[in-house]
């Protein structure tokens, strides 16, 4: 099977408290915040690796971002992916979900053959959950989001379990298709030393606007139908109080205090 996994480099949620907003430019300042592979994307990579372990095939990992995004591609190669593609060009900067999916879809059409595309269910930085479905629409293939498990019983289709709020839904999807993997799907593996040492010998190609065959008006900020009008910082004024004593008394004290603060 030819598998494509779309991944993204994001700020590490453990350090989100270091992210600030520039009061003048209103841009997000991420200096000093470590970058990692989006956690749900790791589940997608793990799913692809499990499919490859069972059925064989080739895994291509794909990302769009600045040159430093290469780090997450290298991580995926160390985990066992076979080749990687970085879409990097100043023209791609500022893309919303539509422009991102359009760029990814254009690159996939131009450079890749595929039976199944895998994405993470959502990213920890923007969390729109739109890139997967939009990418499937651009490629004119079916998609399932929130996939927590699936079976491939026949090369023609897969049966996916899609997570719902109060249960799950079983869906049969014909291939080629796209699935957006939920974090319950698996426990991502840790790269082996041989995987790390072999990483450098695998193919990692970088393509820009011209190589993908796009024009700048259709990608990045220019190609984004949604634009950010305003960004403001939400201040949380949290405080804590400690009540001591036996549970019954603590509950009474807490209720009295919440009433005093007009919280209840």
């Amino acid at each position: 099977m030819n598998l494509i996994v779309c991944i993204k480099q994001v700020p590490d949620p453990l350090y989100f408290d270091r992210i600030t907003l520039d009061p003048v430019t209103k841009l997000v300042k991420r200096e000093g915040v470590p970058l990692i592979m989006n956690p749900n994307d790791l589940n997608a990579v793990e799913t692809a690796l499990q499919i490859k372990d069972t059925y064989g095939g080739k895994i291509t990992v794909l990302t769009m971002g600045p040159p430093q995004s290469m780090e997450v591609l290298e991580e995926a190669l160390a985990l066992g992916a076979d080749e990687a593609i970085l879409l990097s060009d100043r023209a791609f900067a500022g893309a919303d979900a539509v422009a991102t999916s359009y760029t990814l879809a254009s690159a996939i059409k131009k450079f890749c053959e595929f039976d199944l595309i895998l994405c993470g269910y959502e990213t920890v930085d923007s969390g729109t959950r739109q890139v997967g479905p939009q990418l499937a629409e651009y490629l004119d293939i079916p998609h399932v989001t929130g996939v927590r498990s699936f079976k491939i019983e026949n090369p023609e289709y897969l049966i996916a379990e899609r997570r719902l709020e109060n249960g799950y839904m079983k869906i049969e999807v014909t291939l080629p298709a796209l699935i957006a993997v939920y974090n319950e799907a698996n426990d991502p593996r840790i790269p082996t030393v041989s995987g790390i040492m072999n990483m450098a010998s695998k193919s990692l190609k970088t393509y820009g606007l011209n190589e993908v065959g796009l024009i700048s008006a259709d990608v990045g900020l220019a190609g984004s139908p949604t634009q950010m009008a305003e960004m403001s910082e939400f201040k949380q004024n949290r405080r804590h109080e400690v009540f001591q004593g036996i549970p019954e008394e603590i509950v009474k004290q807490a209720i009295a205090r919440l009433k005093e603060l007009q919280a209840i």
Binding site: E74, A78, I190, T192, V193, I196, M197, M199, A200
Partner: protein, 377 residues
């Protein structure tokens, strides 16, 4: 000069940190309390390729090198120093076999040891001490197509769980290295020493009583065992102890820093107090300085410097890292007050494990002798 780690080394650190935090940290307290050898964890480390870092690919290792091994030991010890000691002791025979053994021995022993499916130990110390091996009483006497071994070794880490034990002994008026397999007649692990630290690894006494070993079990040439042993201990044992100490103090520092950020006194975290900041600044600086001494020794080994040539660098790394680990583990406990003594906060485990490093791979005094000789000769 380039102080930047390679992409591969950075990725290795990240992978080992993930492994340590996910698979080791949740069990560290229990393993320490029960004194159980973590067979499943060492097998998993073998599967990940962490055990055979200084063994070549032809024998089941991956040859990533000494700096990689230092990083692995540091990261594991940052969470649970006992696991770092597993590498410090467990890699000794693996190195001796690859460097001084023959092809048959390499093919027989190394793939299993690199994969973590089998475990090894290495025995030098006897009741009369370890710093002066020329005092040793264990002998191997030629007997037909092999040797008959008699003697007793003490304070041998992992002997009880080892499938293979390497050991140094007298052969006539010189010294030789052999290995013995678990279950060989006349070889017995007789007792487990009670220890304050590294409690999940057994430290044993063992006895050879008319134990006959075939000539095939001789590692290297007869009479050349002292050089093989000292090279092995310096390259693997001392650098390993240095890495464990580095990781242990980093772990103690991390624990103390987190505690100080959360500890509120008079309405503010105690990290607002300059006295606390000064203590943390000193710890942070000493850890960084130690790290570069350790990395330098490992980096030089990777560049093919002989252990004899770089004995001062290795000794400095071991001496300084262990001294700093003890100092900073105590300092971490002081910063945490009575909580620092609680096993739940794990800083006390770091201190107990660091105490074991005073003798591991050679005493601190032996390190000073090596450095002293190099600067005065």
């Amino acid at each position: 000069m380039d102080f930047e780690l390679s992409k591969e080394h950075k990725m290795l650190r990240k992978a080992v940190r993930l492994f340590a935090e996910k698979k080791v940290a949740p069990r560290a307290l229990e393993l320490d309390e029960k004194g159980e050898f973590p067979f499943d964890i060492t097998e998993e480390m073998g599967r990940l390729g962490l055990i055979g870092l200084v063994n070549s690919g032809s024998y089941g290792g991956n040859g990533m090198g000494h700096l990689a091994r230092m990083i692995v030991i540091e990261e594991l010890s940052r969470v649970f120093p006992s696991l770092g000691v597993f590498f410090q002791a467990g890699n000794l025979l693996m190195f001796a076999i690859e460097s001084f053994g023959n092809e048959d021995q390499r093919k027989k022993l190394l793939p299993g040891l690199c994969s973590g499916k089998t475990i090894s130990a290495f025995a030098v110390t006897e009741a009369s001490g370890g710093s002066d091996p020329t005092n040793m009483m264990t002998t191997a006497v030629r007997d037909g197509h092999g040797y008959t071994v008699n003697g007793r070794k003490t304070f041998i880490t992992n002997a009880e769980v080892a499938d293979y034990l390497g050991f140094l002994c007298r052969t006539e008026d010189k010294f030789s290295v052999f290995y013995v397999e678990k279950g060989t007649k006349g070889y017995e692990v007789t007792r487990r020493e009670p220890r304050p630290g590294v409690r999940c690894l057994p430290v044993n006494e063992l006895v050879f009583a008319d134990c006959w070993l075939p000539k095939d079990n001789l590692i290297g040439q007869e009479g050349k065992g002292m050089n093989a042993t000292l090279t092995t201990i310096s390259t693997i044992g001392r650098t390993g102890a240095a890495g464990v100490a580095l990781g242990a103090m980093q772990g103690a520092y991390d624990g103390a820093l987190k505690f100080c950020k959360e500890r509120i006194i008079y309405g503010k975290p105690i990290t607002n107090l300059q006295a606390i900041q000064f203590a943390l600044a000193d710890m942070n600086t000493e850890i960084e300085a130690t790290r570069w001494l350790c990395y330098l020794a490992a980096w030089m080994l990777d560049r093919g410097k002989s252990p004899r040539e770089m004995a001062p660098e290795i000794s400095r790394a071991k001496l300084h890292s262990v001294d700093m680990a003890l100092k900073n583990c105590i300092r971490a406990q002081q910063l945490m007050g009575a909580y620092g003594q609680s096993p739940e906060y794990r800083v006390e485990i770091f201190l107990r494990d660091a105490l074991e490093l005073l003798t591991a791979g050679g005493t601190q005094e032996a390190m000073r002798v090596t450095i002293g000789r190099s600067i005065t000769s």
